[in-house]
């Protein structure tokens, strides 16, 4: 029996065990939505803006290790999706985006709602396809899922012209896929791994620096074993949080621009650095020349060869899947007769502890009059038992959440790290909740970010998503304000958020529960009340101190040890 391209597409998604698609219909995807309507295996979540569809698919994928799927129509559907796709690309989320295209005969004629989807998304996808023949749909979808999930994951866009989705052919889903020009890395080189073990055991001031690759590869258990076996200090990048338990005594906190003093100092002064699934980006090591001033030997494990030696010189590269490499490295380590220099390790840990004391840890001065954002996050951690899935938007609230919500498990921390996309948090939380029904999901946000996708409160109502929105409302685009205070002479250019809506009434207008919290004494009871409402979305408008800054801070372009500590310390 022959099926239409649209029917074939839906059958492919069924074969891939896709449970949810996040999307928005339109002219070019009418046949696809018609095929979707006539089955009930693949369920559709109707968002209110295409950007949110892609962020939701992203949150779904990050919190579940499945491929996120989004549908958008041609033209503005695609352009609205681009921010979401770029976000997923920067943070290596496995995702397949299906976009409608104008009919093949109209391509290139500036047809209604036509954009060059493949051209526009090319720099922000792992790969993309324009399907010109209905016979190619099944094999293309198979390839798309394979590319999205294998190797270093990423978004793949499949653009399907309207006529192709209505042409007919027989359906056969390929059992396997191989692409002659694509060979994702698997195991690491054994000789390199043995060298790495020797180098690690020779270290006098070792450091383990782990990023999002650990989470993506599901290698948290291996990393935790390794750190405990070696007894080295371990730091996580923003993307890596939860990849190593924050409550472990070897954890020295997040590093980088808003990392702890001890993590940044240890990173700067170590003699052997093991980088695992991390990419030495500008927010992590700051100034490259400053970082290179103190010689250290670097071992770098990454699945993507282009991440190795991109910004810093690496002494011992190991290309491979983090989990497989760590498994082998642990085996070699366990059978090695070489021992660590215990005296050197003792001295190094003493130094790290001294830095911890000098930095004063993550500290802020609490106030009985005005709510400090850090205080809300500490109470949030306590009230949720540290077990919630937390999404964020971008800015000060994001950094405070990274610092104060101690993640002990991977895939609980969902944030836009690479692209820094405001408007990510709420739709991402929808995807997280769809992937993990029944779990506690909170979106920590700011009054700037939340307004970038606030229309999704409507989607949350339709699908009864009991997300808790933790709005840290300080009336300012706080991170930009902070930079203006530090580096632009207190000239707060366009960072005051005037004419804010009444968020409580806004939440209520969307059919949710709204709360306004203005006194520190009310923070904990309000959180308890909100999280007790298991079936409701509760929108909590915390009025926080507008003058609070994120510390510590390594100013842009500076070195890790040129870190600014809180002025109160």
């Amino acid at each position: 029996m022959e099926l239409t391209g649209a029917e074939i597409l839906i059958r492919c998604l069924q074969e891939e065990q896709v449970e949810y698609v996040f999307g928005y219909p339109g002219g070019a995807v009418l046949f696809i939505y018609d095929a979707l309507f006539q089955q009930d295996k693949v369920k559709h979540i109707l968002v209110r803006h295409e950007q949110a569809a892609v962020h939701a698919a992203d949150g779904y994928a990050r919190s579940s290790d499945k491929v996120g799927v989004a549908f958008v129509t041609s033209g503005p559907g695609v352009t609205n999706a681009v921010t979401g796709i770029a976000t997923a690309y920067m943070d290596s989320t496995p995702m397949v985006v299906i976009s409608g295209q104008v009919p093949t005969g109209a391509i290139g004629e500036d047809a209604f709602q036509e954009v060059d989807a493949v051209g526009i998304t090319r720099p922000c996808v792992k790969h993309n396809f324009l399907v010109k023949d209905v016979k190619d749909i099944a094999s293309t979808i198979k390839k798309a899922f394979y590319l999205a999930k294998s190797g270093r994951p990423g978004p793949v866009l499949v653009d399907i012209p309207k006529d192709v989705s209505n042409h007919k052919t027989t359906f056969e889903y390929p059992a396997s896929v191989s692409i002659r020009s694509y060979h994702p890395a698997g195991k690491g080189d054994s000789a390199q791994i043995q060298r790495a073990v020797r180098m690690l055991l020779e270290a006098k001031r070792p450091m383990i620096y782990a990023g999002g690759g650990v989470v993506l590869s599901d290698a948290s258990a291996q990393l935790t074993d390794l750190v405990r076996l070696l007894g080295f200090p371990c730091t996580n990048t923003l993307m890596g949080l939860g990849g190593f338990p924050a409550s472990d005594k070897h954890f020295v906190g997040m590093l980088g621009m808003h990392g702890t003093y001890e993590a940044n100092m240890a990173m700067q002064h170590c003699d052997v650095l093991l980088a695992v699934g991390a990419r030495f980006d500008d927010r992590v090591i700051g100034n490259v020349e400053h970082f290179a001033e103190i010689p250290r030997r670097i071992i770098h494990i990454d699945i993507d060869p282009s991440s190795i030696a991109k910004r810093v010189k690496v002494d011992l590269p190991i290309v491979g899947d983090v989990k497989l490499v760590l498994d082998e490295l642990l085996d070699v380590l366990r059978s090695s007769r070489q021992t660590l220099d215990a005296a050197a390790m003792g001295a190094w840990w003493k130094q790290v502890e001294d830095w911890r004391a000098m930095g004063g840890g993550l500290r802020y001065r609490n106030s009985p009059e005005i709510i400090k954002p850090q205080f809300v996050l500490e109470r949030l951690h306590e009230v949720t038992g540290g077990n919630a899935f937390i999404t964020t938007d971008v800015g000060q609230h994001q950094m405070w959440t990274a610092q104060y919500y101690k993640f002990d498990q991977p895939r609980r921390w969902i944030t836009s790290g690479g692209l820094g996309t405001m408007g990510f948090g709420l739709p991402a939380a929808m995807g997280v909740q769809m992937a993990n029904p029944g779990v506690t999901v909170a979106c920590v946000t700011g009054e700037g970010s939340i307004q970038m996708n606030i229309q999704e409160l409507s989607t949350c109502k339709q699908f009864r998503l009991p997300i808790k929105v933790i709005l840290l409302n300080n009336g300012y685009l706080g991170m930009v304000r902070q930079w203006q205070e530090f580096f632009h002479g207190n000239r707060y250019s366009e960072t005051y958020m005037d004419a804010l809506p009444d968020f409580v009434r806004l939440a209520e207008a969307y059919g949710h529960v709204g709360m306004r919290i203005e006194k520190p004494a009310d923070v904990e009871s309000a959180l308890k009340e909100a999280f007790a409402r298991k079936d409701d979305l509760v929108f909590m408008d915390f009025r926080t101190d507008p003058t609070e800054n994120v510390y510590p801070m390594v100013p842009g372009g500076k070195g890790l040890s040129q870190i600014i500590l809180s002025e109160e310390l």
Binding site: R122, K126, H127, L147, S181, S306, A309
Partner: protein, 163 residues
């Protein structure tokens, strides 16, 4: 330093723009780029002439390899290789000038492939540097048009790029 990178890629619509887009997006230099299908019509062979520090060249190689459409890649300048570029030059030439042009063309092992009362068109195939030398010898004043293909490269002897 100048490098010649040779690669085999899927002969598909959009493959060329993935490579060109990579160079512009990451700010890499591109001196010349030439591409055409191979004996296997599903594959195209591309030669890219670029320049940069060792670290930049390493990144260019890795980033190109990362493109899903790129099937195989070799940095020809890392070993023994040959490079050739085809150039067509039209010069203003009448009478005595024409004879002088022909003399220079012979020295450079080129061929005159078209002549008119006032012009003379030369075909020359050699290394990029030799072509530069020819243009210098003729002088800019006489040149009406220059058409160059960009370098094509191939490894010497057993250095082979094949799937």
């Amino acid at each position: 330093m100048r490098h010649i990178i040779s690669l085999l890629m899927e002969n598909e619509a959009g493959a060329l723009s993935r490579v060109a887009g990579l160079f512009s997006a990451r700010g890499y230099n591109i001196e010349s780029l030439s591409v055409a299908p191979t004996e296997d019509p599903t594959l195209s062979r591309m030669t890219i002439v670029t320049s940069g520090s060792d670290a930049v060249i390493e990144q260019i190689n890795k980033q190109l390899n990362k493109l899903v459409d790129v099937a195989a890649l070799i940095d020809l300048s890392e070993g023994e290789h040959l490079e050739r570029e085809l150039m067509l030059v039209k010069v203003r030439a009448d009478g005595t000038v024409c004879e002088e042009i022909k003399r220079v063309t012979n020295v450079f092992h080129g061929r005159v492939i078209d002549e008119s009362n006032s012009t003379c068109t030369i075909e020359l195939t050699d290394t990029c540097a030799k072509l530069d030398g020819f243009l210098q010898a003729i002088g800019r004043d006489l040149i009406l048009e220059t058409v160059r293909t960009g370098a094509s490269g191939i490894g010497r002897g057993d250095r082979i790029l094949k799937l």
